[in-house]
């Protein structure tokens, strides 16, 4: 029977055990927060990517609108690939299935 100190129990057992759920939640939250931020900027901001797309669509400057949309896509792709790499690094023990 393991009789661990509270700190050891937290850092060696609880935290690593909860890490898969924490990583999933963090990456979902990050993407969702960026999307919501951009959506909010479309409505009431004076700067930012959402504002950029909305502002130039009002002036019918569609090349800049398309550029803004593509840039949003690039930012989200970079964020997800970075968080994915961090997650894979942190959870490398789960990718080592023998069978």
């Amino acid at each position: 029977m393991l009789h661990l100190k509270k700190a050891t129990f937290f850092f060696r057992i609880l935290l690593p055990g909860a890490l898969p759920s924490i990583c999933t939640g963090a990456s979902l939250a990050l993407v969702l927060s960026f999307l919501l931020l951009t959506a909010a900027e479309l409505i009431g901001a004076t700067s930012g990517l959402g504002w950029y797309v909305k502002n130039f669509s009002d002036f019918a400057d569609f090349p800049r609108v398309i550029a803004g949309i593509i840039f949003i896509g690039i930012v989200i792709t970079v964020i997800t690939s970075v968080t994915d790499r961090i997650e894979r690094r942190l959870l490398r023990h789960l990718e080592a299935d023998h069978d």
Partner: protein, 267 residues
């Protein structure tokens, strides 16, 4: 010595164990037998201090069990290794918690020696997910042994293994138990009659739910006999049949009781 005195255990309103009294002497290898759901694992958890009985007392060497017991090491069917630690680190954590005064290098050396004992010397730095089922179970057994427990509690540890690995680990467990320097007490839960006969020095059979002790047999086996020779002896053949009959009788009684309940014949 483990002593259980009139143990009753319930999950909610459902009675799981009823009036269990049992004394296990030091150095015994007790196999708890019974069909699935009869409360064998619950009984093991009660001894380990992971659950508390509603009625009755459990003592180990005269001290009541009121929580997770330091003298016990438990091996579960699903290995219970921490997947984020290497095999060696799993052992190191257990050894550190059992022997806080040992230096870090000494703990690692001890961990490696137990891994080598179970044939996993080369897998020390691998994660559990990189090991086969048999190797994981060996690592779990090594971890349990590494804390040098007086009592080893095993809950169907070989249930999920293929027959070859199962036989290898059964022999390994017997070798470790027979180590005269340690004289460990083992309580082993299984529903496999042959496994119980091969391993145990004492067989305790539980009835189907609620679990009650319906048979308690001590075995006097010649340790020089191999598996095949053991099962060819007349005494063991007779015991095997006896245990099967006890099982069958219990199941038939239960079915009879159920049919009486269903058709109202008991009224």
């Amino acid at each position: 010595m483990i002593k259980l005195d009139n143990i009753d255990f319930f999950y909610g309103h459902k009675s799981i164990l009823q009036n269990i009294s049992l004394s296990v002497d030091q150095g015994e290898f007790v196999c708890l037998l019974g069909e699935s759901g009869c409360g064998k694992s619950t009984l093991l958890r009660l001894i380990a201090g992971l659950n508390r009985p509603r009625e009755g007392t459990i003592t180990i060497d005269g001290n009541p069990v009121n929580g997770p017991e330091k003298k016990c090491a438990v091996v579960f069917q699903d290995y219970s290794l921490f997947p984020w630690m290497s095999t060696l680190d799993n052992l190191v954590l257990a050894i550190k918690s059992a022997f806080p005064d040992k230096s870090a290098p000494a703990v690692r050396v001890l961990g490696r020696s137990y891994l080598e004992l179970v044939g996993l010397g080369t897998a020390a730095n691998k994660y559990p997910a990189q090991l086969s089922g048999g190797m994981r179970q060996r690592a779990a057994i090594a971890r349990a042994l590494a804390i040098d427990p007086e009592i080893l509690l095993l809950d169907e540890p070989f249930g999920a293994l293929d027959p070859l690995n199962r036989a290898i680990l059964q022999d390994l467990l017997l070798t470790l138990w027979r180590d005269p320097a340690k004289k460990r007490t083992v309580v082993f839960v299984t529903h496999d009659v042959e496994e119980a006969i091969y391993l145990g020095s004492r067989l305790v059979v539980l009835s189907s739910s609620p679990g009650r002790i319906i048979a308690d047999r001590r075995l006097d086996k010649d340790p020089a006999l191999n598996r095949q020779q053991l099962f060819e002896t007349l005494e063991i053949k007779a015991l095997h049949q006896q245990l099967i009959d006890i099982y069958r009788h219990d199941v038939l009684q239960k079915l009879e009781f159920r049919s009486l309940q269903d058709d109202g014949g008991g009224i």
